[in-house]
Amino acid sequence: LINAWTETPTKWYPLPLAVGALLLVAMQYRKKVKRASKEVHVDEDGMEVIRLKGPWHVHVIGALPLRYISRLWGHVNSLELPVWFRPIGFRLYAVAFGCNLDEIEPSDLRAYRSLGDFFYRKLKPGARPVDDAILVSPADGRMLHFGTIEDLHIEQVKGITYSLDALLGVEHPKSRISVHSTLAHEHNRDMSVVDDREFANVNGIDYSLDQLIGGSSTPGTPTSEDMPASPVATPLKFGAQIDASVVEPERSIQETLVHDASVALEMGFKASVPLTGGKRRSTSGTSVKPGNALYFSVIYLAPGDYHRFHSPTAWVVEKRRHFVGELYSVSPYMAKRLENLFVLNERVALLGRWRHGFFSMIPVGATNVGSIKINFDQALSTNVRGRPPPPGTYTEAVYAAASPILNGQPLTAAQEMGGFCLG
């Protein structure tokens, strides 16, 4: 080798023209492919059409029947395990995925009938102290990414973004329908639009006169157009019409009022948050007030993590939008490779407001955890059989009946909201 290195004479000669030409063609082709992958296809309304984008192995994964696999996975994991096997099996799982068995409730592993049951375990009271900050973590997991939203695009990973409108849904007046809460319907409650007109003040809580005394609209089934002013767009519909059955917690009226009032006070509550006319407004209707900005954060829950999620702040959930989609893995590996991952996957966008204006929380499903539960929403059913509708379509429900004053489901910081189930 030394001889070859030192004694071989270097002979320079020009490359044949054809090689240079081939090189140029290859470079042009690479540029074209890169450009095509960044191209944004839009529909007749000018909205981005969400498509699977990524390297070839992402397309291979995309060709798999992931929703079916997810449901099968869920079924297998719901099978009851023999009592003698449960402590061994769950301890092995805990070692493999890093679960802390000291903090679970119940602590007797024999009490969990299946792996799915164990996966959706509870924590002992006081296992998670709650900080007094305005924003706390809604789940156990890893903070993947956070920052401000620029040009209404959220950065999935460095250099790869997805549209805020695609994540939360866009306004589509042509297909607007009536969506109502069953409780609102049963109570025949008036759902007049809350605006800046008149406000009363009782115990430091502002609310509109319309809400207090009942507005002038015709009693009966409230329509989406009758719903309170919201920082997000008027409801739209692409799926079937649904009723949101709001599950009223088992507590007395007095307890409910105290709970709602405490949320209201924590929020520095105003019944109407006049967010329209802000400095920026997206097609999803999300707007921000001058002096404010839009922020995002993404938390990834690994298989060993506690899989229930809690409220990240004191806020009022006004509506939810259920996007039936694919169930790709949401691991950091896939997040780096599959563009639009969070807008392709099945998810539940909970939209509402907090003390600073618009607030939303979007649990996104994955292959192993395709089912999303929301404790106060019985109507929600995720990862069900059937072909998913085109990306970007959703069904919507409103929670206006949950609290007459707050016009939505009030939640305190760290209050349990729901969780992810296997399959």
Binding site: A133, V136, D140, M143, P231, A293, L294, I299, G357, A413
Partner: protein, 31 residues
């Protein structure tokens, strides 16, 4: 599974965690 939060906050809002950091329910995320 993943949870995405999108919210409006004052311009001076700051996250108090780092990307890649493990977080737990109730832990301070920002203020």
């Amino acid at each position: 599974s993943t949870i995405v939060l999108v919210f409006e906050a004052p311009d001076d809002f700051e996250f108090t965690v780092k990307a890649g950091q493990k977080v737990k329910v109730g832990q301070r995320l920002g203020d």
